[in-house]
């Protein structure tokens, strides 16, 4: 197995080779590709609904508000996934929900990456006082119960005006999630940067006089960025769940359907035997999470240099 399990070092500084290689390897995994396909369908759907909403196209998902049948009609050939309390199509709501849920998760991810990655890189590279401060900030954040933190942020942010924009439910939701969840990625990046900092290729770059900015951006980042991608793919799922929790606590998007809001609405209907709304939203979350998870695992296997099998 030594040949098969041999640890192969990443080629330092040659980010592109690593990436190309990873993509090539990933493409060969059928299951991963199927999952990527599923994830893409979700993203395309979300994007399509977003555009449709923007340009006012009258298509199924954007017409979720229409009454298509009786209140609480069970699934039938007319309404495949049944209807909700107002006789709205659960199928349309589920499709539309992709747009809200995915954008919450996407923006939350972007925010947490935008905060966590630079802070982690700076702290890990410069160490000293700057690092102490960064560690202090994230230790403080992580010593507050997560639910309290996210609730507090959501409560505090809701309906506040920031830079001339009133924060509606959805914006408050992803801001709250993003602002509270960068700790994990920051910690990971910091650790990885510390590890790489003393590697030969960085020492070499230092010795021929690269600026520190250049070292971080051109030499370190390409070699630690795979962590961001992996973390992103796995955390995305957690964010979709966080949206569900926020909705449960009444802090999600109030005026449009999201998966979280649907699950939350449907929980009380369960005891009257109305299972389809819960089932539809849960299935949507499940399929998305499953695909993203399997894809994330495969991505991890092909990106993480440590795990690359010759």
């Amino acid at each position: 197995m030594s040949e098969q399990g041999r640890i192969v070092e990443a080629r330092p500084g040659k980010g592109a080779g690593l990436w190309l290689d990873a993509v090539r390897r990933l493409c060969k995994r059928k299951l991963a590709m199927v999952c990527l396909g599923v994830v893409m369908v979700y993203f395309l759907l979300a994007g399509f609904v977003y555009l449709a909403e923007m340009f006012d196209w009258r298509v199924g998902p954007t017409r979720w508000g229409e009454e298509v049948g009786q209140s609480y009609a069970p699934p039938s050939s007319k309404n495949i996934l049944g209807t909700d309390i107002f006789g709205q199509s659960v199928l349309r709501k589920t499709l539309y929900g992709a747009r809200i849920s995915i954008s919450v998760a996407l923006f939350a991810s972007l925010i947490s990456i935008a905060i966590g990655v630079p802070l982690g890189a700076i702290g890990g590279y410069f160490r000293g006082f700057v690092d102490e401060v960064i560690v202090w900030i994230y230790s403080t954040l992580s010593s507050i119960p997560y639910v309290l933190l996210i609730l507090a942020f959501a409560v505090v942010l809701r309906d506040k005006t920031v830079l001339g924009h009133r924060l509606t439910g959805i914006a408050a939701a992803y801001l709250a999630i993003g602002l509270t969840s960068w700790v994990g990625i920051c910690r990971l990046i910091r650790g990885e940067v510390i590890k790489h900092k003393d590697r030969e290729y960085i020492l070499a770059a230092v010795s021929y006089g690269c600026s520190r900015r250049r070292i971080i951006l051109r030499h370190l980042m390409p070699n630690v960025f795979h962590i961001v991608i992996i973390d992103f793919s796995l955390r995305f799922v957690a964010f979709v769940h966080a949206e569900v929790i926020l909705s449960f606590l009444g802090l999600g998007e109030p005026n449009r359907p999201s998966w979280g809001a649907m699950i939350n609405d449907a929980r009380m209907e369960l005891s009257r035997g109305v299972w389809w709304q819960m089932a539809a939203a849960t299935a949507a979350v499940f399929l998305f999470c499953l695909a993203l998870n399997i894809f994330g695992d495969a991505l991890r296997d092909s990106l993480d240099p440590k795990l690359r099998i010759q």
Partner: protein
């Protein structure tokens, strides 16, 4: 502790001719993302009691896969033995149950690996790790096993074994770790020791000492050794016989001295030349052109033909793969151009 005196197993004392392990037509596949990798193809060799067989070849040619196949440690998710026989002390290992196989591992066949540091469990003391095997196979109590473990450490040449037994692998040097590994492997006096590149990760002075240690242990207990290496120097000095592997197959087997004097396969010749020229003449290193093909890109015909001066232009070499044939007593080769090969058809 006298290793021989303590040998409890009911084994006839060998006369040096009795075959301990005989591998026949062993084939093992590995499942890679890209497809099935035939890591071991139709491999056959045998080891006699008390003797050392060296399995030689470049990285990636299937040596380790062969070793893992012998003890059936190819992980189920990663690969599978697809054919052949592995006869050890008269029993075909491939027919044994997992439980019976566990009895053989560590007890009948010991194994040491290339990376001594990572092959030891970092969170247990070395004494623990040796005693574990003893407790498992010899039904000894904790204390007894511990005492044996200390003795083993002493036997593999570690100074102050009482104290060292309580240390963790990270507190030791690479050479010492390898000694500990050897102690783990031979603690139950196996009939066969598989040493998978035991010295590759060590520095040159330590390498010799470890090999000496193996020699000494072998002499004391009549243990056979399957020495896996890419270092021909080691083969020449330490092995009784050698099998050369190339691209999942054995291409030549012989008494190690004869292999040295008169290699038959062009690959073996190439290997020797690169070693000899480096060692004796100081002239520019002559290397075998090209590199070992990736398992999924094996060429048709003789797998060595693209790198072979004769084979490159020979149509037969390019289309028909030569099987291993015994060309002289105790010598096998797989090359159309080898002397006497075609006569044996």
């Amino acid at each position: 502790m006298d290793l021989i005196a303590n040998n409890k197993r009911d084994v006839k004392k060998s006369d040096g001719n009795e075959t301990l392990l005989s591998v026949r037509n062993l084939s093992t596949d590995f499942f890679a993302e890209e497809g099935i990798v035939r890591a071991v193809q139709d491999v056959g060799f045998s080891i006699r009691r008390g003797r050392t067989l060296a399995l030689v070849g470049e990285s990636g040619c299937g040596k380790t896969a062969t070793a893992l196949s012998i003890v059936r440690l190819v992980p189920a998710a990663q690969g599978k033995i697809v054919g052949g026989q592995i006869v050890f002390e008269g029993r075909n290992l491939l027919d044994l149950s997992e439980r019976q196989m566990r009895e053989i591992r560590g007890n009948g066949i010991g194994m040491i690996f290339q990376e001594p540091m990572s092959s030891l469990n970092p969170v247990y003391t070395v004494g623990d790790q040796i005693a574990e095997a003893i407790r498992l196979h010899q039904e000894k109590g904790c204390k007894e096993a511990w005492a044996d473990a200390v003795e083993m450490l002493r036997a593999v040449g570690i100074a102050d074994p009482q104290r060292r037994a309580r240390e963790y692998p990270h507190q030791m040097s690479g050479g010492m770790c390898q000694r500990v590994m050897i102690a783990v492997a031979v603690s139950c006096e196996p009939a066969l020791l598989i040493a998978d590149e035991p010295t590759t990760a060590l520095d040159v002075t330590t390498q010799g000492k470890i090999l000496d240690l193996l020699d000494r242990l072998q002499k004391q207990s009549e243990m056979s050794i399957l020495l896996i290496t890419h270092d021909l120097g080691v083969v020449a000095q330490r092995a009784d016989e050698a099998a050369v592997m190339y691209a999942s197959r054995i291409v030549e087997t012989a008494d190690s001295r004869r292999l040295f004097v008169e290699p038959l396969h062009p690959y073996t010749q190439g290997l020797w030349e690169s070693l000899l020229r480096l060692g004796f003449s100081g002239r520019r290193l002559r290397v075998i052109p090209g590199s070992v093909p990736a398992p999924l890109q094996f060429p048709a015909g003789c797998k060595f033909h693209p790198r072979c001066s004769k084979g490159r232009s020979d149509n037969r070499c390019r289309s028909v793969e030569p099987e291993l044939r015994e060309v002289e007593a105790g010598r096998c080769v797989a090359c159309w151009h080898a002397r006497g090969y075609e006569d044996k058809a």
